[in-house]
């Protein structure tokens, strides 16, 4: 039975996060183009509004005003729901993630988390797997060759990398597990990362198992269909991949969900490996309010760093070939993730 205070916080958080995520995705597209420009020695968009900051609004208005073409040959119901289906997992995935330090309100402990699920990790894995349906549905319903290729590629890619991703999360769960603690609860995973080794190295899973961190990092790119793993779109080969036949707001929701996904995956990353809301020195702060605010700030900064990493990598690396992608997923990441999970298990067994 959750307390009244927790309920208020959850509702407010749900509303705020939902709005923040969609708006943030719009702003994200602007920065994507900006950073694309910078890495190539250009200025990036700088005409719409002051210094170009209203570019994302202009883009949005353009998408909203465009003609929404629905071709005769598409499978209409599936074609129409596909963009929404793509959007849903991106917008519900973060429900299980704590974005700040839990605090006490009216004597009740309140978690800054929309849902405090005790099997949060399973929830993450489950929802993340749904994401592929949006792509596959859209691709199949388009009833056109290139989108179909894109869909096939996307599903194969997602399945391959989910495996490695799941194994790297197992390492995290193992690291968290202690007698009497539900290691599948995400707030416990974050709580497990507070504290220090030798008094100054934070106990973030990143440091505890860098191999798992790295595997998760790579899978994160693959799961969000970002370069160097954007084979589902691959405009040189597949025109536009799964969204070739989409236009106007339907296309925009595909695009937007990609960016929301990126933010969500960054949040997952931060929660599982980089200590969530924890930052070194948080214990020294006396006031609970400041502590909570700073913890939220720390979480946000970490998330922003990974968002930036997404862009940075995208404008650095070329796309993988399909065989390289499969090779990397099955022959490299999967064994490494397995080994890391095994190693973690042995280490924990020896310690205990």
């Amino acid at each position: 039975m959750i307390s009244q205070e927790q309920l208020i916080v959850s509702l407010v958080l749900g509303l705020v996060l939902m709005l923040a995520m969609t708006a943030g995705a719009g702003v994200f597209t602007f920065f994507e183009r900006k950073i694309a420009g910078w890495t190539q020695g250009r200025y990036g968009p700088n005409r719409a509004g002051p210094k170009g900051y209203l570019q994302f609004l202009a883009d949005g208005i353009k998408f909203a005003l465009k003609e929404d073409v629905i071709q005769d040959y598409v499978v209409k119901p599936v074609y129409v729901i596909a963009p929404g289906l793509m959007m849903i997992p991106a917008l519900v995935l973060y429900a299980a993630l704590p974005i700040g330090k839990p605090f006490v309100w009216n004597g009740n402990e309140v978690h800054l988390q929309i849902v405090q699920a005790n099997v949060g990790v399973l929830y993450l894995l489950a929802v993340a797997s749904i994401a592929v349906y949006g792509i596959v549905f859209g691709a199949w319903a388009s009833n056109s060759r290139y989108p179909f290729f894109g869909g096939v590629r996307a599903s194969a890619q997602m399945i391959s990398y989910e495996l490695a991703m799941g194994l790297s999360i197992i390492s995290v769960v193992l690291l968290t597990s202690e007698p009497g603690i539900n290691a599948l609860s995400i707030s416990n995973i974050v709580a497990g990362q507070t504290g220090y080794w030798f008094g100054f190295i934070p106990r973030w899973n990143l440091f505890a198992n860098p191999v798992a961190f790295f595997v998760f990092l790579v899978c994160m790119f693959a799961e969000t269909n970002r370069l160097p793993f954007d084979l589902a779109e691959a405009e040189q080969e597949l025109v536009g991949g799964y969204h070739t036949e989409y236009s106007a707001m339907k296309f925009a929701s595909f695009m937007l969900s990609e960016y929301v996904n990126m933010i969500t995956m960054s949040m997952v990353m931060v929660t599982l490996f980089v200590g969530g809301w924890h930052f070194p020195g948080i214990e020294a702060i006396r006031s609970q309010a400041i502590q909570v605010l700073l913890s939220i700030g720390a979480f946000g900064i970490k998330v922003l760093f990974f968002c930036f990493l997404f862009l940075w990598v995208r404008w650095t690396l070329p796309r993988f070939r399909y065989d390289q992608l499969m090779h990397l997923g099955w022959k490299a990441l999967l064994p490494v993730a397995l080994a890391s999970a095994l190693g973690t298990a042995i280490a924990i067994a020896l310690r205990v």
Binding site: I35, W38, T39, Q40, G41, R42, Y43, W312, V313, W315, T316, L317
Partner: protein, 205 residues
């Protein structure tokens, strides 16, 4: 049969197969670029400065009396590889020459901006300016006639531009102004296209 030895690529080392060093190197590079210099120009506000030999929009020169210098000899049209120049001549009662163009049209869409017309012109009547803003609302508007080409001259009179060699042909029939002597021809000649000294280049920049 002769044997050809082919250099096979060496097997990749572990570090190379991991991709990671290369990826980090790439990230370092793009990081530097993010903070580096911008190479693009803010076009309508800023414009690129071109060298003297830049081949932009044509202009038809005017003589010292402000009349068209062209004598409609069609040498430019004959040398034009894109066949974009159309000339119709007409007669005038001027003391020093009697043939001027009635129609002089350059289809700037067909033009490949090679500069042959400038080189072919025996009158130094056609130049290529450094203007590169070629904007029109229709194909017809992109066919530049006498009026436009002469207006471009008025605009770019001061510009030092790509020019051919003036052999003074118009003046050949005026007593006392001939240039029959090869030495004189040499003196009349302007710097030949394409030869630009280092100092000039620096000045242009």
């Amino acid at each position: 049969m002769a044997t050809i030895n082919v250099q096979r690529p060496e097997r990749l080392t572990l570090a190379e197969r991991l991709y990671l060093p290369a990826i980090l190197n790439g990230l370092r590079l793009t990081w530097r670029h993010i903070w580096g210099e911008r190479v693009t120009l803010q076009y309508p506000e800023e414009e690129r400065q071109f060298k003297r030999v830049y081949r932009g929009v044509h202009r038809l020169n005017k003589d010292d009396k402000g009349r068209v210098k062209c004598v409609a000899c069609e040498m430019c049209a004959a040398s034009c590889p894109a066949h974009c120049i159309t000339i119709k001549a007409t007669e005038v009662e001027w003391p020093e020459r009697d043939k001027i163009p009635k129609i002089f049209e350059i289809d700037e869409l067909k033009c490949i901006f090679c500069g042959y017309c400038v080189e072919a012109c025996p009158e130094d009547a056609i130049h290529m300016t450094r203007h590169y803003h070629l904007i029109a609302r229709s194909r017809e508007d992109m066919i530049f006639g006498l009026d436009k080409l002469l207006a471009i001259y008025d605009e770019t009179k001061e510009q030092e531009v790509l020019r051919g060699v003036d052999f003074g042909m118009t003046h050949a029939r005026i007593p006392g102004k001939e240039a029959a002597n090869p030495d004189e021809v040499q003196k009349l000649a302007y710097p030949v296209v394409g030869v630009v000294t280092k100092a000039e280049t620096q000045r242009a920049q």
